[in-house]
């Protein structure tokens, strides 16, 4: 069996990288090698994982500096003997080894409005055309791996922005509410409350790393920014609001 040259972060903020030589089989992914390491040399090595098929988004880590899913990173990508450095996601507080505290994301999730759909027709049917739901289905592919949150420099380099910035994952969720063909109320909220959309300067780092290939910037963030600009800064609408206020 070939052996992998693994360098893995061990411990909390005061920890360090440790180097391990780990035997592995053909066809393995990085997560398999981490499990092998756990079973043979480091029983207490902390790593999150669930499905091992790129569907649950649990095993995100920074592999040779790139935030990725460990379960979708095949060992064949590396040269024989090449050092494979596995580090925890940098944007979130470290708990231990490869596990970080992702509470920030769960707190932001609480701020996103829930859909509020129009009533179904008299036969209890909600008709929607496939073509109208497809753009929202793209957003629903999100597996919440938080890799987009991890690379977003608005928070990666400036944690102080966290309070005012929902992050790419939640812009995607906002877009999925705002663009639901039958939503009637929640969509207004998504536009009127900023969620920090203005912090994003569309560098597309999030889009580049999305393991689901969601076009986060083009299909979610930019349309939301446009709607917001339309809603709040369109001169005709501003005039309309002014007249409405006069009437009141």
């Amino acid at each position: 069996m070939p052996s992998a040259n693994m360098t893995v972060w061990r411990g909390d903020d005061d920890g360090q990288y440790e180097n391990y030589e780990v035997e592995y089989q053909d066809g393995m992914v990085v997560l398999d090698v981490i499990h092998q390491l756990q079973a043979t040399q480091a029983g207490d090595l902390a790593v999150r994982w669930n499905c091992k098929a790129g569907k649950c988004g649990s095993c995100s880590a920074e592999i040779n500096g790139q935030p990725r899913l460990q379960c979708m990173t095949r060992m064949t990508e590396f040269q024989d003997g090449e050092e494979i450095k596995v580090a925890p996601l940098k944007a979130f507080p470290l708990i231990k080894d490869l596990v970080t505290d992702v509470t920030y994301n769960y707190e932001k999730a609480k701020t996103i409005p829930f859909v509020d759909l129009m009533k179904p027709d008299e036969n209890d049917v909600r008709r929607m055309a496939q073509i109208d739901i497809e753009r929202v289905q793209e957003f629903h592919k999100c597996i919440e791996c938080y890799i987009c949150q991890d690379v977003c420099h608005v928070i990666r380099d400036h944690p102080e922005n966290q309070d005012n910035f929902a992050g790419p994952r939640f812009f995607v969720q906002l877009a999925s509410v705002a663009m639901h063909p039958l939503d009637q109320n929640a969509k207004a909220d998504t536009v009127s409350h900023g969620f920090g959309l203005e912090y994003c300067n569309i560098t597309k780092c999030c889009t580049d790393v999305c393991p689901e290939g969601i076009k986060i910037t083009d299909n979610a963030i930019i349309p939301l920014k446009e709607r917001r600009a339309d809603e709040l800064y369109d001169p005709l609408r501003a005039l309309g609001r002014f007249i409405n206020n006069l009437k009141k």
Binding site: A39, T40, N50, C51, G54, V115, R126, I133, V177
Partner: protein, 596 residues
């Protein structure tokens, strides 16, 4: 001993998959203070792995479909061992649960006239599965997760329950630990709902994640609940087989539902050689008829590629044994030669992605190699069909951990609908009980016992590595209590499990209490071992072949065993006891449906 973090809830739900979340939404809506406990982060439960869809007789694609046809398919798929009342409730209520999910934001694929599209699946007479491409489970979990957040339900993430507390023959709480810190936590609850999913980790080739260690099965049995049908395990016919590291990962039945076919190394569509008498009248016997069936359900019979999963898994097993398998020990699943590239990518995007990324196989150009993988347990905690109540007061169970709906074999697509139909009912009846009573005191002795068991692997003087014991058990169960079983293997397995139980007592772990997977693995072993024992003993007792239980020493179904459940309970000395009990009798108006 230090003080333990304590919480009181009306309804405590263990497990945050589809059933747990749906139950939580229901209990909250009925005014209960509700908590969800999950071993993982919220939204990562095994439900995300469900691909093909959710079965519900909505009749959107074939208006001839209705609950009676779905009920009949479910019973026949389960080889008539199902609890008929659960199968009836499930078939009747599934369409409402689909529409409810839609009202909470789920976006199922659509028919040309804008209604929910339904897809073909094994054992279902009509195209019946509401779906979102091949990632329906992800849609379900995310929508329920967002609904739970909107309802402000308390969630204890990365928290593991290690014991249920029983007072006066009533479940009234639970003890566990936080995975992050190792700190202990206890709950007082008026009702507890078990929604922990399955136990696929018992086998070495499985589609299940680390979480599927049978915790809820084992906690319930320990608390005194009756288990039924534990011998029935579904080996999904199509798991990935190569490369080795991905062995077991699920390949959705949707591939066959959307036109894919199984072939052996000679290129033959071998399923035509494995049509059982029970399904002969409704299964195509020529390739021409089978292929026509996809578009003409009135004049053609269903392709044998879509026989129930137990039939297909056994057929694949036989082909490989006969030397007609693929190089990696599976068979071929071919959709490339049968559907165009655009169609495959649109209908099966995550299968395309999964094979491309993990195996370097382009499924629009080449066949997939597939073979059986431990996927689902039909057996579990015995429940009342109406209320999901178990045999102990205060304890409810829903989803995979509960038994009865699927009989000896589950049809694809009936799991997601099971989660919602019985998750909702469990939430409803658990809430009804909780609203009528006060909390009762926790038994300190039981709490202390749980606390010392949780700490034990650190105090052990033994030298066993928990990962090694787990992998030895999985190897044993794969070899001796797998798809094809016989008396001598099962008897020998019972002896081996006893030895592994002794080794489990000597398991030791290194490191600290902070996020220590070695320790967590050590604690999960007790569940894996006791459920392995229950499965093996039940499998030894059932001297016939039926659904997800095949004995090569009793290769056919028997009338005697077809009328009874195998019931497992735990004795005072922690041994699994087995007894036989007659099935409940189906009323005449339902029995009529099977007379043709």
């Amino acid at each position: 001993m230090a003080s333990i973090e304590s919480h009181d809830y009306d309804v405590l739900i263990i497990g945050a998959g589809g059933a747990g979340l749906r139950a939580a939404v229901e209990a909250t809506a009925r005014g209960c203070k509700t908590a969800i406990i999950t071993k993982s982060l919220l939204g990562k439960a095994h439900t995300v792995m469900a691909e093909g869809g959710m079965a519900a007789a909505m009749g959107n694609v074939w208006e001839q479909d209705n609950w009676k046809v779905h009920f009949r398919d479910t019973m026949r798929g389960g080889k008539m061992l199902n609890n008929w009342r659960m199968a009836q409730i499930h078939a009747q209520e599934a369409p409402d649960r689909v529409l409810e999910l839609e009202s909470w934001g789920a976006l199922f694929d659509r028919t040309p006239d804008g209604r929910i599209l339904q897809r073909d699946f094994g054992g279902h007479r009509y195209a019946r599965l509401a779906h979102v491409g091949d990632r329906t489970g992800l849609e379900m979990i995310r929508i329920l997760q967002q609904k739970s957040v909107a309802e402000d339900i308390d969630v204890f993430s990365e928290c593991t329950i290690n014991q249920l507390l029983v007072n006066d023959s009533e479940v009234n709480g639970a003890v566990g630990y936080w995975r992050e810190t190792g700190d202990l936590i206890q709950f007082r609850a008026k009702s507890v709902i078990m929604a922990t999913g399955g136990l696929g980790r018992i086998w070495s080739v499985t589609s299940n994640s680390w979480e599927g260690t049978g915790d809820g099965h084992s906690l319930s049995m320990n608390a005194g609940a009756e288990m039924i049908d534990m011998e029935f395990v579904q080996f999904h016919p199509t798991g990935m087989v190569a490369p080795t590291s991905v062995k077991g990962i699920l390949v959705t039945e949707g591939v066959r539902g959307d036109g894919g076919t199984l072939r052996n190394s000679l290129g033959e569509r071998f399923m035509f050689n494995y049509i059982p008498a029970m399904f002969a009248s409704e299964t195509a016997d020529t390739e021409e008829e089978a292929d026509r069936w996809y578009t003409d359900k009135e004049n053609a019979r269903r392709t044998p590629d879509l026989l129930p999963r137990d039939e297909v898994a056994r057929a694949i097993n036989s082909e490989v044994k006969a030397g007609r398998g693929s190089p990696s020990g599976g068979v071929y699943l071919d959709i490339a030669s049968r559907r165009d590239t655009d169609y495959i990518k649109r209908r099966l995007p995550s299968m395309y992605h999964q094979f491309m990324e993990l195996a370097g196989v382009d499924i629009t150009k080449e066949s997939m190699e597939v073979g059986p993988t431990a996927h689902y347990v039909m057996g579990g905690v015995r429940v009342d069909p109406e209320s999901a109540a178990t045999s102990i007061s205060g304890l409810y169970a829903a989803g995979e951990v509960a038994a009865g709906l699927h009989g000896s074999n589950r049809l694809g697509g009936n799991s997601l609908s099971d989660l919602l139909v019985f998750g909702k009912r469990a939430g409803e009846f658990a809430a009804e009980r909780a609203l009528q009573m006060e909390h009762s005191a926790l038994d300190k002795e039981q709490v202390d016992e749980a606390v010392s068991r949780i700490a034990k692997p650190f105090d052990s003087v033994g030298t066993e590595n928990p990962y090694t014991v787990q992998s030895d058990l999985r190897e044993l169960m794969q070899n001796k209590v797998g798809i094809i079983r016989n008396r001598s293997d099962l008897e020998s397995a019972i002896g081996e499990i006893a030895k592994l139980k002794d080794r489990e007592k000597n398991v030791t772990v290194s490191g600290t209490h902070s996020y220590n997977p070695g320790w967590h693995t050590a604690l999960d072993l007790q569940h894996l071992l006791s459920m392995s024992e229950a499965i093996t003993k039940a499998a030894l007792e059932r001297e016939e072949s039926r659904g997800g239980h095949t004995r090569d020493d009793f290769p056919t179904p028997s009338d005697e065993f077809g009328k009874l459940n195998i019931v497992a309970t735990l004795s005072d000395s922690d041994e699994v006891n087995i007894k036989r009990e007659p099935l409940s009798e189906m009323p005449e108006e339902l029995a009529e449906l099977f007379k043709d």
